[in-house]
C-alpha cells in the first residue's frame, strides 16, 4: 500500500438555514493516497462541492465536525494561519466554474503569481514572472507572455479553466482537488484538461480527488471511486470492481442512466425522483429508500452503514441485496421505473 496522504473521518458539514443546521455532508470517511486518483461521483446537489470545500477549509459559515487528516495533521481544527500555509501550497483546488473563479479586475499573471508570492516570499519579481509564464505554457496556453497581461474577460472559458488549473498547481501541491474541472468545457478541451491533470499526477506524485458526474471521466482517470448520495457515501471501491459489479441501487442507476448508443436513448434507466433539497433530506434510515419505493421496508437497515463486501469495496445499507435492478426494459416497466 502506498503512502496515505489524506484521511477524512466521519466528516459532517452542516449549513445553517434559518435557525437549524442541516448537514450537506454527513458522516463521510474517505482516504486518498499519493499518486492516486479518487473519483467522487453523484448527482447534482449531493454534496460533492461541499465535501471538497470542507477539506480545503473554504466554508465560511458552516459547522464542520469530524477529522480531516492531511499528512497526519488534523486540518479540520487548525489555526487559519497554519491552514493558509497549506492551502495553495500543499493542497490546491480547481474550481467548478472557470467563468467566475477569477478576479475580473486582476491581470492573469498577477492572479497566478499571487499563489507563488504567498508561499515563497523570497522569489524575485522576475523569477516569479518566469515561473508564471512556465505554468501558462504547461497548461497549454498559447502566447503566455501576452496572456500574462490580459484580464479574465479577454479569455475563453477553456483558457480561463487552464488559468485556474495553473493557479492550483503553481506550487506543485501534494493534494489536488478538481471539482468538475471539465463540465463547463467542450469535449475536445475536456480531454486536453484531463490529460493535463494526469500528467500532474505522474509528474508530482500527487493525490487527486476528482469530482465529476461524468462516468467517462471516472473510467479514464480514477483508481478508486466513491459514490455519493444525499451527503453520504453509498458505495466505494476500486474503479474496476465498481464498473464490473456495482451493488448499491443508486450506483447501478448511475450506470444505467448513462445513455449508450446501443441501447436506444429513448429508454433511459432513470430512477424516480430527484435528490431532495437540504432541508428535506431524510435523516433517518436509508436515504435512498424513497426513490425505490417498490423495495420493501424490511430490506433497509435501520441505521444504514457501510459494509465491506469484498476487500476495499464498501456498500451502504442492506437494500442492495433485495434490489433487482432490471436488465431489460420490460422488467423496468413492471417495477415502475420511468
Amino acid at each position: 500500500m502506498s503512502e496515505k496522504l489524506l484521511e477524512v473521518k466521519n466528516l459532517k458539514t452542516s449549513f445553517r438555514i434559518k435557525d437549524d443546521y442541516y448537514a450537506a455532508v454527513d458522516d463521510v470517511s474517505l482516504s486518498v493516497n499519493k499518486n492516486e486518483v479518487l473519483a467522487i461521483v453523484g448527482e447534482s446537489g449531493c454534496g460533492k462541492s461541499a465535501l471538497a470545500f470542507s477539506i480545503m477549509g473554504l466554508h465560511n459559515r458552516a459547522k464542520i465536525e469530524g477529522n480531516i487528516m492531511f499528512k497526519n495533521q488534523d486540518i479540520a481544527n487548525i489555526s487559519p494561519a497554519k491552514l493558509n500555509k497549506l492551502r495553495g501550497n500543499n493542497m490546491g483546488m480547481i474550481f467548478q466554474d472557470p467563468l467566475t473563479a477569477l478576479n475580473p479586475l486582476m491581470e492573469i499573471g498577477d492572479q497566478i503569481g499571487e499563489a507563488l508570492l504567498l508561499h515563497n516570499k523570497d522569489l524575485s519579481k522576475e523569477k516569479r514572472k518566469d515561473k508564471v509564464i512556465q505554468l501558462l505554457t504547461k497548461v497549454g496556453i498559447p502566447r503566455p507572455e501576452h496572456v500574462y497581461e490580459q484580464f479574465p474577460h479577454e479569455l475563453s472559458g477553456g483558457m480561463r479553466q487552464r488559468v485556474v488549473i495553473a493557479t492550483a498547481i503553481a506550487n506543485e501541491p501534494e493534494l489536488l482537488i478538481a471539482d468538475e474541472p471539465t463540465t463547463a468545457l467542450d469535449v475536445t478541451i475536456q480531454s486536453q484538461i484531463l490529460d493535463l491533470i494526469k500528467e500532474l499526477k505522474d509528474d508530482m506524485d500527487a493525490g487527486i480527488i476528482m469530482i465529476t458526474h461524468d462516468l467517462g471521466v471516472v473510467a479514464e482517470m480514477a483508481d478508486r471511486v466513491a459514490v455519493m448520495y444525499a451527503g453520504q457515501i453509498v458505495e466505494v471501491s476500486d474503479v474496476y470492481t465498481l464498473f464490473e459489479s456495482p451493488l448499491h441501487p443508486y450506483t447501478r442507476s448511475l450506470f444505467n442512466s448513462v445513455p449508450n448508443t446501443a441501447e436506444a436513448q429513448s429508454k433511459l434507466h432513470v430512477i424516480q425522483g430527484i435528490v431532495p433539497s437540504l432541508q428535506k433530506l431524510p435523516r433517518e434510515g436509508c436515504r435512498f429508500s424513497a426513490r425505490i419505493p417498490w423495495v420493501e421496508e424490511s430490506a433497509h437497515e435501520e441505521h444504514p452503514e457501510l459494509h465491506e463486501v469484498s476487500p476495499g469495496h464498501f456498500v451502504r445499507c442492506t437494500c442492495y441485496k433485495h434490489f433487482n435492478f432490471p436488465d431489460s426494459s420490460k422488467e423496468e416497466q413492471q417495477h415502475g421505473i420511468s
Binding site: 494561519a81 495553495g88 474550481f95 467566475t100 478576479n103 499563489a115 484580464f151
Partner: protein, 320 residues
C-alpha cells in the same frame, strides 16, 4: 481610450441642447415675468407692454430661444433685473463658491462613507453594522434642510464654533493666507451638514457592494491560494467593491446640486443654490434659467466624469 472619451463627449452635445430647450420652455411657462414683479405704480401698463416688445418677449418661442442660445454661447447669460448687471457677472463668483462647497462636501462624503461602508460590509449583521445601518436609515429619513438648520443652530449659534453666514469674513484681502483659511472655515459646517445626510446613499451602496463581492467565487479562489483574510479583503474585496463607486459619482453630483440649494440658503452661503432660490422668489428669470442651465450641465459633466473614470480603472470597459 481617446476614441471612447471623444465619443462620450459627443453624446453630451444633444443632451445639452435638449436640456437648454427644456429649460427655456419651462422658463417661458412660468407665470409673470420680471416686469410684472416691478411694483412701481408710476409705470403704465402701456409702457410695460412697450418694454416687453422692445425686449423681444412677444416674439415666437423659437426666435427667443435662438437669441438666448446665441447669447449663452458667447457667454452672455442675459441681464439680471434685480442686480441690474449681466447674469454672467453675478454667477461668476458664486459658481466658484459653490464649487468649493461641493468639493468639500464630496471629500467629507467619502471620508464618512468609505470607512463606514467598509466596516458595515465586512462585518455585516454585527452590532457595528446594525449601528451603521441605523444611521443610514436616519439619514434617509431626515430632510436635509431640517438637519442643516439643527447643525447651524447647535454649532453656529449655541456653541459658536463656526460662522453662521457668508463665505468669507469681511475685510480680508483675497489671496492672503487668512482669506483662504476664512473661506475654508466658512465651508466646513455646511459641507459637513450636507455630507452627513447625502453620504448615507454611498454608505449603503458600498456596504451592499462589499457583501456582494464577499460571496463571489474568485474570493474563494483567493482563499484557496492561501491568502490571509486581511489580504483577501484588501486585495480582492475592497478593490472590486470600490470600483463601482466611480460609477456612482455622477449620481453624487446630482445629489450635491439639490443639496446646495438647501444648504446655501440656510447657511447664508453666497453660492448658486442661494442665488437660485432668491431669483425664483424675485422672478429674476434670466438668472433662474442661467443657473438651471449650469446645474444641468454640471450633472451631465458629472456623468461624463464618472464614465471616464470608470473607463480608466475598469479593465472590462477599458478601451486599449
Amino acid at each position: 481610450m481617446w476614441k471612447f472619451s471623444v465619443r462620450r463627449i459627443l453624446i453630451m452635445i444633444p443632451q445639452i441642447i435638449l436640456l437648454s430647450i427644456l429649460i427655456f420652455i419651462l422658463a417661458k411657462m412660468m407665470p409673470g415675468d420680471a416686469l410684472s414683479g416691478m411694483v412701481d405704480p408710476n409705470v403704465s401698463p402701456e409702457r410695460l407692454e412697450e418694454l416687453r416688445e422692445s425686449l423681444g418677449w412677444n416674439d415666437p418661442w423659437y426666435v427667443q430661444y435662438g437669441d438666448w442660445v446665441g447669447g449663452v454661447v458667447q457667454g452672455d447669460l442675459g441681464q439680471s433685473f434685480r442686480f441690474k448687471m449681466p447674469v454672467s457677472e453675478i454667477v461668476g463668483q458664486r459658481i466658484i463658491n459653490t464649487f468649493w462647497l461641493s468639493l468639500a462636501t464630496l471629500i467629507f462624503t467619502y471620508l464618512i462613507a468609505i470607512p463606514l461602508g467598509i466596516t458595515s460590509g465586512r462585518y455585516n449583521d454585527s452590532l457595528l453594522d446594525q449601528a451603521i445601518t441605523s444611521y443610514t436609515y436616519i439619514g434617509f429619513a431626515t430632510p436635509l434642510f431640517i438637519f442643516a438648520l439643527v447643525m447651524l443652530w447647535v454649532f453656529g449659534f449655541m456653541l459658536g464654533w463656526f460662522p453662521t453666514s457668508g463665505s468669507v469674513s469681511p475685510g480680508l484681502e483675497p489671496g492672503t493666507f487668512e482669506y483662504v483659511m476664512s473661506k475654508i472655515y466658512h465651508l466646513i459646517l455646511p459641507a459637513i451638514a450636507m455630507a452627513l445626510i447625502t453620504t448615507v446613499n454611498t454608505v449603503q451602496y458600498l456596504r451592499s457592494e462589499i457583501i456582494d463581492t464577499k460571496q463571489k467565487d474568485f474570493i474563494i479562489t483567493a482563499r484557496a491560494k492561501g491568502a490571509s483574510e486581511s489580504r483577501v479583503y484588501n486585495r480582492h474585496i475592497l478593490r472590486n467593491s470600490l470600483l463601482p463607486l466611480a460609477a456612482f459619482f455622477g449620481f453624487e453630483i446630482t445629489g450635491l446640486i439639490g443639496g446646495t440649494i438647501f444648504v446655501e440658503n440656510i447657511f447664508g452661503y453666497p453660492g448658486m443654490g442661494q442665488l437660485f432660490l432668491e431669483s425664483i422668489t424675485l422672478r429674476d428669470y434670466s438668472v433662474v434659467t442661467a443657473v438651471t442651465l449650469l446645474f444641468g450641465i454640471a450633472a451631465i459633466l458629472g456623468a461624463l466624469l464618472s464614465d471616464i473614470i470608470l473607463s480608466l480603472v475598469d479593465p472590462r470597459i477599458r478601451i486599449k
